[in-house]
């Protein structure tokens, strides 16, 4: 009975209802968007990881199985075959492995496979990873191991180029290709007192030669090296997450950074070096690719599709890995962070790693916005429904009945609005999923899950924020209302 009255009321003042529905639709659309994002990621999610890497998905030629032991704080990976031309350092510095060319057979991702991966839906770019072991000679005394990596400038977009991570100097320009210039991290694992080379300085690289043994296997000859003088043109600083710990007085926070000895070179420059160290005898074994994906909303769907299509290879979503490491509260090494933090790092219980990711606050803001909308709408509604409330009470309606009537109206407006907003915003997502060759059931299931989430969130919020105005309406005295009319 009172549900029906509430429903009738929602239709009665059509102009107001449409406004309320549209505003709820906008809120729900945002909510849908954020919920879809919680399947995928924002543009900003783990940007520094992605930018340092040059893309969103890592492809290994072989199966790489990575699993975190339950009790461990170290992210460990297992590779069936040690492959020197790949590394998993991005996930967690602890798993960084020294040494190259330890494996005897290297699986190669050939050009055809690269092209067919590029043709997959959602994949916007494919960059092979080119790495070589090297030693940096800073001065006569300081010689430390690093590795040189090629950056294919033509395949990087603004989103996954580390331009914004530049701390001093600059990132590469097209004209740098082929020149002996490099960008290094400002933060490197160096002996105490030794600073990373700054822009403008020169370093000497000692690069071991790559050879083939009599069985046709490639190996690194550390005794036979070439030297290269390189000019540093830029320093990078990549923040990875915020670290909070309990200080003496209050909670302290510090940004953690990526520490890496990687030396980044333009692809042309790197290729010239490769020609020299391999003496033209060996083709570079491409066993790792980085894929660029511009729509991060469906990143996991794209990865899922690739996993199904190339069962012999491994596809790793960088944000997902970072996310998982974050959830398990894995934190970076504290090599060069302040003493206080090193001490704090021993008090594991109070450690929190916080993702530099805006999804949670965004979702909260969107919900708050919807809540305020409902509250404002209900306050207006109260005034309109006063007389009706008084009449209903005069013919025997209880306070509960009035509350039900008011809440039904609020709920209908919220749910209709949310439904519209959801449909409008989720259809493109579903289409996107379809073009990614996902099965009908997978798509329907994810759409349904999202719908339940959006509807239950808006319904809960509208009931919660509608309750106080509704109860207030129900509590008004009959004659006071009727007299003032």
């Amino acid at each position: 009975m009172f549900f029906r009255l509430g429903a009738v009321n929602a239709w009665r003042n059509l102009a107001r209802s449409i406004l309320a529905v549209v505003s709820m639709a906008v809120a729900a659309a945002f909510l849908t968007y954020t919920i879809s994002l919680s399947r995928g990621y924002t543009r900003e999610a783990y940007a520094s990881f992605r930018q340092m890497l040059g893309g969103e998905i890592i492809v290994y030629a072989q199966k790489v199985q990575g699993e975190l032991p339950k009790e461990s704080s170290v992210w460990s990976f297992e590779r069936p075959n040690e492959n020197p031309f790949t590394d998993l350092q991005v996930f967690h510095p602890e798993i960084y492995r020294q040494g190259y060319l330890e494996s005897s057979n290297t699986t190669i991702i050939d050009e055809d496979t690269q092209n067919s991966i590029l043709a997959e839906n959602g994949v916007d770019g494919v960059s092979p990873v080119y790495r070589l072991p090297a030693f940096t000679i800073l001065t006569e005394q300081y010689r430390y191991s690093s590795d040189i990596r090629a950056r294919d400038l033509s395949r990087e977009s603004d989103v996954n180029s580390p331009k914004s991570l530049i701390y001093s100097g600059r990132w590469f320009e097209e004209t740098d290709d082929g020149k002996a210039v490099a960008v290094v991290s400002r933060l490197q694992e160096l002996p105490p007192g030794v600073k990373a080379p700054e822009p403008g300085s020169k370093i000497l690289l000692e690069i071991p030669k790559i050879k083939k043994d009599q069985y046709g296997q490639i190996y690194v000859d550390y005794h036979d090296t070439i030297s290269k003088e390189i000019t540093i043109i830029g320093n990078l600083v990549a923040p990875t997450r915020e670290f909070a710990w309990q200080g003496d007085i209050d909670t302290q926070t510090e940004i953690l950074y990526w520490w890496t000895n990687e030396i980044q070179l333009p692809l042309g420059t790197w290729q010239a070096i490769w020609q020299e160290v391999s003496e033209g005898l060996v083709d570079y074994p491409i066993s790792q690719l980085i894929l660029q994906v511009s729509d991060l909303t469906y990143l996991e769907d794209i990865v899922l599709n690739l996993v199904n299509r190339y069962p012999e290879s491994s596809f790793v979503s960088v944000p997902n890995q970072a996310n998982m490491a974050m959830e398990r509260q894995l934190i970076e090494k504290f090599l060069a962070v302040p003493q206080a933090m090193v001490q704090a790092s021993e008090q594991k219980a109070t450690q929190q790693g916080m993702a530099m990711d805006l999804r949670v606050p965004m979702m909260g803001l969107v919900l708050l916005n919807a809540a305020l909308l409902v509250a404002a709408n209900m306050l207006i509604m109260i005034n309109e429904r006063k007389r009706e409330m008084a009449i209903l009470k005069s013919v025997g309606a209880k306070r509960v009945d009035i509350t039900i009537m008011a809440l039904t109206e609020a709920l209908i407006l919220a749910v209709v609005g949310a439904g519209i907003g959801f449909i409008v915003f989720r259809i493109p997502g579903a289409l996107n999923q379809m073009t990614n060759h996902q099965g009908v059931w997978t798509i329907l299931k994810s759409v349904f899950e999202d719908l339940i989430q959006v509807l239950s969130a808006t319904a809960a919020v509208s009931l919660l924020f509608g309750l106080i105005p509704a109860v207030k309406l129900a509590g008004m005295s009959v004659m006071n209302v009727l007299r003032s009319e």
């Binding site: 009665r12 009706e388 013919v395 025997g396 306070r399 509960v400 509590g475």
Partner: protein, 233 residues
Amino acid sequence: MSLSDRPILETINLNKAFYLGEAVYAVNNVNIQVMPGEIAIIVGPSGSGKSTLLSLLGGLDRPISGDILINDQSIVKLNEDQLALMRRKNIGYVFQFFNLIPHLSALENVELPMSIASMSRKEARERARYLLDEVGLTPRAHHRPDQLSGGEQQRVAIARSLANRPAVVLADEPTGNLDSKTRDMVIDLFCRFNKTERQTFVLITHDTSLTQYAHRVITMKDGRINTIEVQNP
């Protein structure tokens, strides 16, 4: 007709004041009794407190002191919900200004108290049609209040007040907007229900010709009871 000797409605030293700088006593120390099965009429000049008294009797407003007994039970201590239940069962109310729900049709307005009392829809519809017919509004059953004249709205309100067969019908100038023909129709209806269903009616009116139908005529002035005449209609 044998009336029981206990009043169905009774007020004891009832007071209601509005504070406008100083207290204005709209109902001042009122003691009345209405016996079951009576038609009681309240008359008095405009502003004498008739409507205020009626709203107190219906539990729609709260007195500042005194007591109201309905079937020997005090209603002044009841909470909002208990009052609502009491009204649902015992009271039919006709407001001076009708107060119909604007977006419901005449028929639905009459059904309203019955649905609230959880009568089945079919039954409620049947009775609503019957009551609308009794007040001569069958052709207007599906009109909304803004499509009805003042007199027609008033008759819908009257039909609504009779819906749940309440023991007591409180009506504030129920014939105020009616022509003599429809007025007679409504009075006839009241008298008939009074006799057949033994319903008690308390009517406010400016129309002194109605007093001929009343068992009890209460005259108010300045919030006080001036005279109470008991008679045989």
